[in-house]
Each structure stands twice: as C-alpha cells, then as structure tokens.
Amino acid sequence: MGLLNKMNSYAHKSELRESKDEIVVGEIIRGLSHQGWSCHQVAATTDRQQVGFKLAGDDVLSAVYLVIDRRTGSGAVSQALGSKTTVAIAAEARNKVSDPDDLAAMWRTDLGNLFKVPVHGEVRVNHQLNKIVARTHFLVDLDDYVQGTNVNAAALIPWLLDQVGNLREHLRPHKK
C-alpha cells in the first residue's frame, strides 16, 4: 500500500486539544505498565478506549480493565452531567475452580446488586462462579490532566491505583 493513502486511516485530530482522552489513555498505559501490569487488551474507537491489564502476582486480582468513554457528552442524561468523560474501572478475580458453595455466594451477590448502580464510585460486584468482577464508574474532567499542550497526569495513576485497591478489597472475600 502506498504511503500516501496511509494517513487517511487516522482520525486526523490535527490539534492536540482534540485528543485529551487519547492522551489520558497513553498516560494510563504508561503508568500502569510501570506498575508491572501486562497490557493484554487495547480496544479503541473514536469515542471510547478500553485497555486491559493482567496482574501477575497479585494476591486477589487477575486483571483490571479501564474504559475511557467520551460518549458521556451526548444524550439527555449526558447533557445533564456535562461533558465530562466516564472512566469505568473493572477488577477481576478468578478462582481456578468453582465449587457448589459459589452458587450460594452468587445468589447473595445478585441479591446485593438489586438496587446498586455502580456510578460515582459505587462498587458493584458480579459473581460468575469462578470469575468475580467488581466495577465502578466515575465522571472525570480531563481538563484536570490535560490543559492545552500541557499534560500533567502525575495524579492520575495514584488515583487509579486507589480505586483498584478499593475494588480489590471488595473481591478479596471471594478469592479462594
């Protein structure tokens, strides 16, 4: 393929200011890779980026997934919320083998989830036999991290690690 057509594959965000969410995703990948996490999933579209990491050696978590969703900015609900970006964090614990007791635990979890909506930091745990996932959502103002050409994401990774730590504690009782 000739190079001249190659550039058409990009979204052509010709200005840096159009790329705040991508910039944040780049900082997340870099910051969490330096934690020793192994990235195994990168799925990106125009408005939504999802990255997944394996956590080798973690005593509870097997994987963490983060979604940066800019679609928050459309629709009636989103208009009410403003144009902030949704950051979804899901932490996954895996038990190699499930046993009949897990059925009872699943039932209790489902009951506990009845009225739980995992927004604004609320944590919802989904128990699927040998896989248990805790997830939460936040509305984040990316201007906190990217201002023009000035990128300051130093606080982003510690904040994410705090949230993952919170999810880890929700999953710890389920880890065998």
Binding site: Y10, E22, E27, S38, A43, A56, T149
Partner: protein, 301 residues
C-alpha cells in the same frame, strides 16, 4: 476385587429382590450359613465393582462353600438394567437409610468412580483444570501479544515526552504520537500476522510494523503534491522491508518518512506477557532517529 471384612457395611437383596442394608457383612454371612438366604445373594459395598453374588466374593466364598442350599430359588438382582445402577454412593450420608442407594444421583455414576478415592478424583480434576489453563494461556498469548507490543510502544514514547493523540484498533493497530512542545509526530501501525496458535507455534509470532516520523512544514501542501507525483511514477507498489518512503498529511501540514518492517513480538514479550521495555525503546529510538534524519535531509530546503 478387594476382600470383605466382617465389619464391612453391605447392601444385599432379599428373596423378593428388595434391597436391604446396610448391615455388617458377617450378619449376611450368618444368615446364608443358617440357610435363610442363598449363597448367591447379591451383595454391594462401597468398594465393590458392582452387585456380586456372595459366593463369588473373595473371602466369603470359602466360608459359604459348605452353606446349606438356599431355600428360595435364587435371588433376583436389584431393579434396573444394570446391577451397578443400584449401588449406593460412597460416603453418602444417605447410604444408611433404606432405599438410599441411588438417592443422590445415580448408581452408574458411583460405579464409574469405583476404586478411586475422593482425593484421587479431586487431584485428577485439578490436574485437568491446570492443564486447561496452560493451554488457554498459550492461546491467549497468541491473540494478545500484539496488544502487549502496542502498550510497550506507548510506554516507550510517552516515557520520552510524546503524548498519544490517536489510537484505533482492529486487525491493525494505528497510533499517532506528538511532542507537545515541537509538534513532531511518530506514527505506528502494527498488524499481528500470526494471531492463531497454530501459526504462532509453527513459525513463531510475527508482526508487520510501520513506523513514521513527521514534522509540520509551512509548504506541506506543495510538498504533498510533489510526493504524490513521485510515488505515482514509482514501480514499488509495496515497499520491501527497510525501504523508506515519504508522505504528506496535507490537512495538518505534516510531512512524514516511514519504514516498513517485520517484527518478532516474542523478542519483547515473554511467556508471562511481561514487556522488555528497554529493548523495545531501543528499537523504536533507532527507527525514529533514522526517519528523522530522512525527513530533515529530504525536506531541508
């Protein structure tokens, strides 16, 4: 077949075919010796391979050889097409209750597990699950090693002061980075060529990598037009590895040099999916350095 001890709890079938027990084996033996039951009375106990005539059970046959002839004309086997299908579960809490055999899930299932302890069965189960995880991880690595490379490249460039400004994924990963202070850009296109396990195991993992380096020029439009004519006159439809070519992104005023290479992802990603960041950064640095030189040389005027 293991020998019975006098204390072994056994089930047996009465003259009418009804299941009885469990009772100690010596009680059944006494009744056979007393002529109340035939020597061919069917017995079952947890270690038995199935329902067995008493006079064929090791350890009992000798005692029963001199037993009186049975009053009833033979004892029928328990109901069901398979004698083993009436066997009670080993260690079942229900096994002492009348009619317990089969109450917890099927006698054939118990017969299937005959001769194997719970521990042995658990160990075999865990072994199968462990091996499955090993195979799953091989498959997972084959399908995700390109994402690990992408993350490694992002880390190398963002560590160096670039910011990620474009990312799209699919069969091919396309990324674009920019240095905020200078506007210099690096583009990365990565396509995993061996995403299925069979290919990866046969020839090893391979990926196609296209790296570009670009800078904003005031007359990028004119340069782009010139480059289009240049490429149109070229006979090289698909650049071979190592060939540097040029492009212009007229909408943003950038000119690029790029190079196409083949990559062995396993040089950078180990079996635990950990990334050799130093080696990856070293290789990306070498490519960007060369391409920047090409851009500066080609468009210096």
């Amino acid at each position: 077949m293991s020998a019975l001890t006098p204390e072994t709890q056994v089930h047996w079938t009465g003259p009418d075919g009804a299941q009885q027990g469990p009772v100690p084996a010596d009680q059944v033996v006494s009744r056979i010796q007393a002529g109340e039951l035939p020597a061919s009375t069917m017995l079952w106990w947890p270690e038995a391979p199935g329902w067995t005539p008493a006079d064929q059970v090791p350890g009992l046959a000798e005692h029963l050889a001199a037993a009186p002839a049975p009053a009833p004309a033979g004892a029928p086997a328990p109901a069901g097409p398979d004698p083993a299908a009436a066997a009670p579960s080993e260690g079942s809490a229900d096994s002492a209750a009348p009619g317990a055999p089969g109450a917890d899930g099927g006698h054939a299932t118990d017969a299937l597990m005959a001769g194997l302890s719970d521990q042995e069965l658990d160990d075999e189960f865990i072994g199968l699950v462990d091996r499955s995880w090993e195979m799953f991880k091989e498959t997972e690595k084959a399908s995700t090693i390109d994402e690990a490379i992408v993350a490694g490249i992002v880390t190398a460039l963002v560590d160096s002061g670039f910011v990620l400004i474009d990312i799209s994924t699919g069969v091919q990963h396309a990324l674009r980075f920019e240095v905020p202070t200078t506007g210099a850009r690096v583009t990365i296109d990565l396509q995993h060529l061996t995403a299925d396990l069979a290919s990866a195991k046969t020839i090893g993992h391979r990926a196609e990598l296209v790296v570009g380096y670009g800078e904003r020029l005031g007359n990028a439009g004119q340069i782009g037009q010139a480059l289009r004519g240049e490429v149109a006159s070229s006979f090289v439809a698909t650049p071979e590895p190592g060939t540097v070519s040029f492009d212009a992104d007229i909408s943003s005023g950038y000119v690029y040099a790029r190079i196409e290479l083949y990559l062995e992802p396993e040089r950078y990603i180990d079996d635990s999916m950990a990334v050799d960041h130093d080696l990856l950064r070293r290789h990306i640095a070498a490519l960007v350095h060369t391409l920047r030189t090409f851009v500066h040389t080609r468009f210096a005027s």
